[in-house]
Amino acid sequence: MLIACIILPAGIVNAQDLPPATEEQVENLSQQGNEEGIEDLNISSLTHYIEHRLNLNEAGETELASLQILTPQQIRQFLEYRRLLGSLVSIYELQAVPGWPVTLIRELLPYVQVSSVVPVTKDILARFRGGDHSFSARISATVERSRGYLENKYQGSNAKFLTRYRYQFKRLLQFGVSLEKDAGERLFNKRKPTGFDFISFHLFLRQLGRIACMALGDFTVSMGQGLIQWQGLSFKKGTDIVAVKRQAPVLAPYAGAGEFEFFRGIGLTVQHRAIEITGFLSLRNLDANIIRDSIGRALYFTSYQTSGNHRTSSEREDRHALRQMVGGGSLTFKSGRWKAGVNGIYIKNALDMQQDTKPYNLYTMTGDRWLNASIHYEWTVRSMHLFGEAAVDKLMRRAIIQGVLVSMDSRADLAILYRRLDAGYRSLFGNAFTVNSEPGNEEGLYLGINVRPATAWKLSLYADHYRFPWLKFGVDAPSRGRDYLVQVNYTPDRQTELYSRFRMSISQSSSSTAGVMKQLMTEKRVTWRIHFSKQLTRSFQYRNRVEASWFSREGADGQTGFLILADLVYKPLLKPFQLTGRLQYFETDGYDSRIYAYENDVLSSFSVPGFAGRGGRYYLLINYDLGRRISTWIRWGQIIYYQNQTLGSGYDEIRGNKKSEWKFQVRYLLKGEGRKLR
């Protein structure tokens, strides 16, 4: 009974909520300007696990690592437990796994299950029967028309449309199609006879004898610690030290709506005993800013266009303008508690890349081809897990990451990571644990610790000191920075969660005054958040947050910001609907003291708007299940600024002080065991 009381699904995390640490990471991504990437950076892999829970009796190290919740030591402890004692009998048995506290189990519950192991069928065609079919369609639009529509610069409607079909047979077979049209894009024209601006297809098979997995169509590749190639789920600094180490399968299917961070072609992973070999080849057309001569011949390109928007004539000119071929592979050897491998990637573009001759562009990639290679390793020694990667690029510039995760005690975990990337090191698809969004021009030391001094308490701290040896955009000299975070979590019972997060970030940027010599100014950003969540009854959940921000820059007036919000979630038992509503007030002195707040959204969509100025925000999200197979979501939200006359800038400028958005999504499960999301 006691076990049941502890293990019963926690009321705090429901199927549409992310774990707090993941929610924080999603907010961090949005702060870095990566809103478009939030949807396609495989965060949807977590919602995928909600719908197709990972069977703990079948999951291997890679699958468990892809949850981004477990440390390597916890994964090893679980696999060792399963090896010694056999398959788990029930989910309650997780409490017997050494090193797995109750809080960790609660965090895992929405994504895992315990069921019998189904033998892998040798008949591949049998996998195409009996699986889950899922069809979803989503449409959203902003009510107020921006300047781009009023002046007919955007040729299409202001509706954004996304539709997906996916078939999944356990984890053995997955294929699907995604069709997307962004706001402002035309649905049908000469260049798009198929109607949609973006079409994605993927076919992914696992466990075909020696072939561990095979990808056809769109897929992602992730190798090592991201110094040369990483398109999987990747987080930066956060309260959970697990995020320090990159963990994902080398090949994974891609079903996102982003139009840049994936490959299109074929990938194959072959495994023979302790050796795993992966090879991939991609050929596709990318958006790029092409420079042409007087008769229209393409000469070179200056940048990749990653937004995926093709609304205006200039954006449509860049669409699919650059042919790119990418090939590469990985060879990994695993034995007991260590793993090591070599990786390589080769990129060939149809045109040379040339950028502005600005000082910060001194080391930018040039030419029509690029190459990166690396070696990586992992090694578990007692309670320590060491990992690292060393990489070089085409010009033999070097990068290295070395980290260690230590389980100091059953209640304390430590992470240390050192990275050193040459000022000129570059990789196009790299994504490592760095401050910069792309690996290169950075050296730093990170120290993080999670402590659970008592059952209901958790303390998370990190400190990161770093420097940039060369210039950056907006920073006209080598510069330094440091980040600190302290978070205290208090969870007195299953229904209540309270945390207080204090974060400080000190960095440097160039002054905005005119002139040749621009001094470096120190900027300091401090935020303090208090978040409270409580399951009031079995049907009602309440959430409350207060956040304050302080920003200062040498030689300029400081800014402060404030945000307070209250959420109410109504999810009655045995009823087919759920309501989520929010009321919010924000007030900041300017853009530098803006505050981000994660919002509940329709399934597989993530909303993290930033708030600057003074105003209010509210939204209402309704999820209604029309029977066993059809689920619908409808969302209405509005921001009201108290003092603004216009919002946004350029073609996205809106007259007035309000911005309203509606969103509708429907999902139909054709057959199979797909579980409805609530």
Binding site: F532, K534, Y585
Partner: protein
């Protein structure tokens, strides 16, 4: 919950808000007692009306302070609360200033419990400002609050005029919106720690932190700080039967001391333990 002396007259909230004298410098110090299961009293009307739901008998209180020892900056408060079945009603009156300039308000509050974990409340206020030679201005406002209890921790949220009111009688400024978020932790029967964040529209965030410690069965001591107004305050409370007397003083680094006194009457009905 203690029998007899559950009402603490020393609920201070240090709110040095230059825009309105109706916010007392020392009193309103429910920032501590408001976010506690056992220490909430009628003074919570100044912080979060929802705490009124925890009262079990009728009570009344008066408070007086002389801001920076200046007679023209005197501040008076009168509170009363009465349980009616499962709901609680409260009445508040405030006066600040002198014959040359004064502000006053009167409020009617309502609170109730929604189970063991949640208390909600609302208050309607009528506020007026008078300046000799310039006439009067008046306005109405509303406050909404909620408090959540979890083990030893109590969390509260309160919004005053969230969409802002308008001063009647002239095209004067709106009543500003004010938001409060408070937390209290009942460490033990002797010690309470609490904190409140107050954000008034267009003003600096104020962080009020306080502690309350029971020195003896009839003597309480409280202390706290306010970040926005740089105030430190202390008070001592003395219990005698249903009565309580509090003496409070705060210190501002430039403006000096502000003394205050509060008398609270807890009602005749004996609370069942």
């Amino acid at each position: 919950m203690k029998s007899g002396w559950i009402i603490f007259a020393l609920i201070w909230a240090q709110e040095l808000q230059a825009q309105s004298g109706l916010t007392a410098l020392n009193a309103g110090y429910l920032g501590a007692g408001t976010y506690s299961r056992s220490r909430a009293d009628v003074f919570c009307l100044g912080n979060n009306q929802a705490a009124l739901a925890g009262l079990e008998r009728a009570c009344a209180a008066v408070y007086f302070e002389r801001r920076f020892t200046l007679a023209e900056l005197s501040h008076y408060r009168l509170y009363a609360a009465c349980p009616v079945g499962s709901t609680k009603f409260g009445l508040s009156g405030t006066y600040y200033g002198s014959s040359l300039y004064h502000e006053s308000s009167i409020g009617l509050a309502y609170a109730r419990s929604l189970g063991e974990k949640v208390e909600v409340g609302a208050q309607f206020n009528y506020q007026s400002t008078s300046q000799q030679g310039y006439g009067n201005q008046a306005s109405a406002g509303v406050e909404l609050g909620a408090i959540f209890h979890a083990a030893k921790c109590n969390i509260g949220l309160q919004a005053s005029n969230p969409v802002a009111g308008l001063l009647k009688g002239s095209s004067g400024p709106r009543l500003p919106a004010t938001f409060r978020f408070g937390m209290g932790y009942d460490v033990s029967e002797l010690l309470l720690l609490s904190m409140e964040l107050v954000k008034k529209e267009k003003e600096t965030i104020d962080c009020l932190a306080s502690l309350e410690f029971q020195l003896a069965p009839s003597v309480y001591w409280r202390a706290g700080v306010s970040s926005a107004s740089s105030l430190i305050w202390m008070s001592a409370g003395f219990l005698f039967r249903q009565y309580r007397l509090d003496v409070v003083a705060s210190h501002h680094p430039q403006l000096g001391f502000s003394p205050g006194v509060a008398i609270l009457f807890a009602g005749f009905k004996k609370k069942s333990s």
